[in-house]
């Protein structure tokens, strides 16, 4: 049990702070819906995914506490996402150039 307390490190996040993140996520949701109504062509996809990435960053760093974890876990999360990005990216060397 002492182990848990030592490793847990930081204090629990305050309700107020969590509510702030919640409000930000809701605001970003409203933003992405309203931007989608404007026709930007291909950039609709870029903007939609950009906002989604921002939202997921908020969830990962604060709700999931990643900001307060040690470097090992942070690196691992990065590796997981990089591997996924590489898989999708390299597949596009095929589907993007198919004649």
């Amino acid at each position: 049990m002492s182990d848990a307390q030592n490793d847990a490190g930081s204090h629990p996040l305050s309700y107020r702070f969590l509510a702030g993140i919640w409000a930000a996520l809701l605001a970003l949701t409203a933003l992405t819906i309203s931007v989608a109504r404007v026709d930007l062509g291909f950039f609709n996809v870029v903007v939609a995914l950009g906002i989604a990435s921002l939202k997921s960053a908020l969830v990962i760093f604060f709700f999931m506490h990643l900001k307060y974890e040690n470097r090992t876990i942070k690196t691992m999360v990065l590796v997981a996402f990089v591997v996924l990005a590489i898989c999708i990216g390299l597949t596009f060397s095929d589907v993007g150039f198919r004649r």
């Binding site: 848990a4 509510a19 996520l25 949701t29 997921s56 589907v95 993007g96």
Partner: protein, 198 residues
Amino acid sequence: MTEHRDYAGGKLGMWLFLFTEILLFGGLFLLYAAYLHRYPADFNAGGKQLDVVLGAANTVILITSSFTVAASITALRLGETTRCLWLLAATVALALGFLVNKFFEWSAKFGHGIYPGSEHLMRLPPGENLFFGLYYAMTGLHGLHVLIGATLLTVTAALVRRGRVTQGNFGLLENAGLYWHLVDLVWIFLFPLFYLIA
């Protein structure tokens, strides 16, 4: 065997498990990306047939449930067990709300003859067929995760009630929360990709 508790090890294991979930969905995201690239117009037409209001409602539901589960961890760590239980109950209720919403959405689509392998889909252009194929595969797999997550949170709440998960031993709640946030995370991408691309 001696019972020893490795808090950081448990959390590391949970993160590793989440990576496998991310890559599980990742395979489907890869397919989505490739087919969107090939059939942008058809995907646009498919997206127009989905109900943005229902999708947005579910987004708000999941974001709120992510907040309540994060708050429940804070409550437990501050020793406010009753509040923690209420927050977990709210989370599970929101999860069920999400599924009910999804149920109505799917039934409406089925009513219009849009379901995997249907005659109606066969007649649509290939890109729209793929759009709805991916829609069912991805929201279906996500719905399954909502169900699993809600079950996990219910079990955890029961353990909190019985005093097995406590202020000094909150690892399980934290890990269940991590899983629930992942469910939210996937939806954060599914929502724009299916409902807003139009």
